[in-house]
């Protein structure tokens, strides 16, 4: 280690970030506040009027697309930087040996900021258990991590405003905490696959490259943006395109007849429909927004979204490698019940 050389090269590489980031942020804010004017300008430049179906649909598309992409880029960058502070190894160390209750709350919150990909759900699951993180707390993490993700938050914020985004965040945490508590209380350790219980994990081999410089953190943020926004933007475009078509052409209150708040079976139907579906929030949310504009109830719609993201069939198949059916069934049952309740509460309150 040569501390001096590290510091000088570090400040040298840091400088472009230090003036580039505030500049980008200022530009971001300037564009964000003038999106509606820009859309108006473009619509009238194209010779369309917002009074017509085409004009309204075009305005919707030109306003929502840049708005969602801007929010997505901003939030994903911040998340990429924040995630460098929470390697899975660190999260595991924070959670090992915690008691039910406080441990579940911590696990659910850490689920938001720890980098997580469903392809490494199994090693993560085993890694947690073998380090002495209780089963219920591990589940709180596994429920929160996919459900409360930056893509869902960015889109909710852009399309529905901060209140709905905050409610989604709060309710998602609550479901993760309570579901984990219940699974922990049921003492279902015997429903882990036998090879999982037999495993003795080599923790000594874990890599220690968990210290980052600020340059590396910013680079991680940028990398995250390229990876996530680069993957998700076509879904956003198609989703908003469909949403725009619904917005301009579907008659007012069309959805109220079967997705409105007076239809009691709408919430369970939305949850059941959502489980086998596996899509990202990016494609589905713009359509959801348009449906709500036509009279669909928010609670029903949020329940649908949560069930699509948190309970997906492919993830169940991955978890089947480590869990026996009774535990998977309990997991689905508890989480689905939580989502149902959230759906009804939203429909009642809003």
């Amino acid at each position: 280690m040569h501390p001096e050389t590290v510091t000088t090269t570090d400040t040298h590489a840091l400088r472009p970030w230090l003036w580039g980031l505030p500049l980008a942020a200022a530009l971001w804010v300037a564009v964000y506040w003038h999106l509606s004017d820009l859309a108006d300008l473009l619509v009238s430049a194209a010779g369309l009027s917002r009074a017509t179906h085409w004009g309204e649909a075009t305005h919707f598309f030109l306003y929502d697309t840049p708005k969602v992409l801007l929010l997505l880029t901003g939030i994903v960058f911040l998340m990429g930087v924040i995630q460098t502070f929470f390697a899975p190894e660190r999260t595991r160390a924070l959670l090992a040996g915690r008691r039910l209750g406080i441990g579940n709350a911590m696990a659910a919150s850490l689920g938001i900021v720890t980098p997580f990909c469903s392809c490494s759900a199994v090693p993560l699951f085993i890694g947690f258990l073998s380090a002495g993180v209780p089963l219920g707390i591990t589940f709180s993490f596994l429920i929160a991590a996919p459900m409360i993700n930056e893509i869902a938050l960015a889109l909710l914020l852009g399309l529905f405003g901060w209140k709905v985004a905050a409610l989604y965040l709060g309710m998602g945490l609550l479901i993760a905490i309570v579901a984990g508590l219940i699974i922990g209380r049921l003492k279902m350790e015997r429903y882990l696959e036998d090879w999982v219980r037999a495993i003795h994990q080599g923790t000594a081999a874990a890599p220690s490259n968990t210290s980052y410089t600020w340059v590396e953190r910013f680079e991680a943020g940028w990398h995250h943006v390229r990876e996530i926004v680069g993957k998700v933007w076509p879904y956003v475009l198609v989703g908003i395109g469909l949403g725009a078509a619904i917005h301009g052409f579907v008659p007012q209150d069309f959805m109220a007849s079967f997705m409105g708040r007076d239809v009691w079976w709408a919430v369970p139907a939305a949850v059941v429909l959502g489980v086998p579906m596996y899509t990202n929030a990016a494609g589905i949310l713009p359509i959801v927004e348009a449906l709500i504009g036509k009279g669909a109830a928010l609670g029903t719609t949020l329940a649908f979204m949560m069930s699509v993201i948190a309970l997906s069939a492919p993830e169940m198949l991955i978890l089947r490698k480590v869990l026996k059916w009774p535990l998977i069934a309990t997991f689905i049952g508890v989480v689905a019940t939580g989502i149902l309740l959230v759906g009804y509460v939203f429909n009642l309150v809003l």
Partner: protein, 77 residues
């Protein structure tokens, strides 16, 4: 000769990682034995929680994402 193992359940990032390592080794003319480990029990045995992971001569040097080219060159240098 270095023995390099890429840990991962066969996801796209794991394949990319293995390819990249093979590429860099070829470019640098370093002789390596590259192996892909897909057995979950073995992956977890290394203490890796986020894939892809990279193990060189028995030591975990990387976990959680595709390593960049510079990093790989460092391992092989």
């Amino acid at each position: 000769m270095k023995t390099i193992k890429v840990l991962g359940s066969g996801c796209r990032n794991c394949q990319t990682t293995a390819q990249l390592i093979a590429e860099v080794a070829k470019a640098k003319g370093v002789d390596i034995a590259l192996e892909k480990v897909e057995s979950m029990a073995e992956i977890v045995g290394f203490g890796v929680m986020s894939t892809p992971g990279v193990v060189i001569d028995g030591h975990v040097v990387h976990a959680g994402g595709v390593p960049d080219r510079k990093k790989i060159e460092g391992w092989l240098g």
